[in-house]
C-alpha cells in the first residue's frame, strides 16, 4: 500500500477536491483493502484493485450525502461546459470542472496509468464507452488549453 499511497491520494483528491476528505477516502479504502487482501488473486493488480476501492468508497460517500450527481446519473451526452471567460484558468481547474463521468476515467489514466481496457474493468463498463469518455474529456481540455495558450501569446 505504501507504494501506491501517492497515486491513491491524488486520485481521491481529484475526485472530491478536498485534501482532508481525500485522505479519509484513502484511509478507508486501504482499511477495506487490508481486510480483504486475501480476495486479491493477482498481486500485480493491487494498484487497480485499490483504486477501484477508492472509487467505490467515493461513490458510497456521494450517495450518502446526495449532494452531487451519482456516478451513473450523469448524461453521457453532456459535454463538459466551461465558459470562454474561464479559458485562462489552469488545466487543474479545467479538470475539476469536468463532469465526473469524464473526470473519473481521465484520472485513472493520467494518474494511474491504466489502459482503456483496464479502466473499463474498473468502472464496470465497455472499453468503447471508456474511449468515448476519454476522447470527449481530452477534446474539452485541449480546446480550453489551446485557447489559454493563444490568449497568453496575444497578451
Amino acid at each position: 500500500m505504501r507504494a501506491y499511497s501517492a497515486d491513491l491520494y491524488r486520485f481521491a483528491y481529484w475526485l472530491c477536491r478536498d485534501r482532508h476528505a481525500a485522505e479519509d477516502l484513502v484511509q478507508e479504502a486501504c482499511l477495506r483493502g487490508w481486510k480483504s487482501w486475501g480476495d486479491l488473486r493477482e498481486p500485480a493488480q493491487a494498484k487497480a484493485w485499490l483504486m477501484t476501492i477508492v472509487r467505490n468508497e467515493y461513490a458510497r460517500n456521494l450517495s450518502r450525502k446526495r449532494s452531487d450527481p451519482s456516478l451513473d446519473d450523469v448524461d453521457e451526452s453532456q459535454l463538459p461546459f466551461a465558459p470562454s471567460s474561464e479559458g485562462g484558468l489552469e488545466a487543474a481547474q479545467l479538470v475539476a470542472m469536468l463532469p465526473l463521468t469524464y473526470r473519473e476515467p481521465l484520472l485513472l489514466q493520467a494518474i494511474g496509468g491504466f489502459s482503456c481496457a483496464e479502466i473499463a474493468g474498473m468502472l464496470g463498463t465497455s472499453e468503447g464507452a471508456v474511449m468515448t469518455r476519454l476522447t470527449r474529456a481530452r477534446q474539452a481540455l485541449r480546446q480550453q488549453y489551446t485557447e489559454a495558450v493563444k490568449r497568453r501569446t496575444v497578451g
Binding site: 500500500m1 505504501r2 499511497s5 501517492a6 491520494y9 491524488r10 483528491y13 481529484w14 477536491r17 478536498d18 485534501r19 482532508h20 485522505e23 484513502v26 484511509q27 486501504c30 482499511l31 487490508w34 465558459p83 471567460s85 474561464e86 479559458g87 485562462g88 484558468l89 489552469e90 488545466a91 487543474a92 481547474q93 479538470v95 475539476a96 470542472m97 481521465l106 484520472l107 489514466q109 493520467a110 494518474i111 496509468g113 489502459s115 482503456c116 471508456v130 474511449m131 468515448t132 476519454l134 476522447t135 481530452r138 477534446q139 481540455l141 485541449r142 488549453y145 489551446t146 490568449r151 497578451g155
Partner: protein, 230 residues
Amino acid sequence: MNCLEFRREKLADPRRLSSEARSHADGCPTCAAFGREVDESEQALERALQTPVPEGLAERIIFQSRRPRRAWRAWALAAGLLVALAVGFVLGTSRQPANADVYARLAIEHVAMEPESLTSVIGADAQAFQAAVQTFGGDVRELPGKIRYIRLCPVEDGYGWHVVFETPQGLATLILVPGKRLPRLETASAGGWNALARPVRGGYYAIITKSRDATSEFERMLRDCIVWNA
C-alpha cells in the same frame, strides 16, 4: 487507418498508440502535428494532477490499519460531540444566531482550509481575474493589488474564484461566488481572520484579511478598481 480513427485513438490513450496509428502519423503531417499538440496538453494535464501528497500519509495508513477501528470511531464521535457542545455554548453565549453571517464565516473557513493559497503563487493571471469579474457583470479598471493566486474552488453553493492579492496592507483574499445572492452584507471574525461577504450583481464576493481595517481598506480599493454595475 484514417485521420478520424487516428484522432480517436490518440485522444483516448495518448501513450498507447497502436502500430497502425503510429504508421499513419508517420505518413500524415496533419495527424503528426495533432499528436504533438495532444502530447503537449497531456504533459500539462499530468503536471497539473501532481498535487502534493500529505507528509506521512503512507505511515498513517499503515498505523490506522493496525488500530482497533471501532474504539477509535467511538472516541472520535465522543470528541465530536464535545466540540459541538463547546461550539454551541460559545455561539449561544455570544447571542448570535447559528445562521448569522454564515457566508462570511464560510469564507474564513475556506481560507483556513487552503493555507497554501497564501504561501504559493499559482495561476497569477490578470486576464483570468478580469474574466471572472465579468461573469458578475463587473468591469476591472485596474487591479486592486498584485495577483498571487487564482483558482476555481468548490464552495458551499457550487464554484467560486479564489483570488489572493498582495497589497500594501498585506495579503487579501477575494472569493467571487457567482449565482448566489445574499440578502445583506455579512461580516465575521474568527481564528485571527476577518471577513465580509457582500452581495453584488451576479452573486457575492467575500474579502478575507487578518484585520477589520485591512478588510475595509481592501474593499475600498476594490470599489475604486472595479465597477460592479450593481
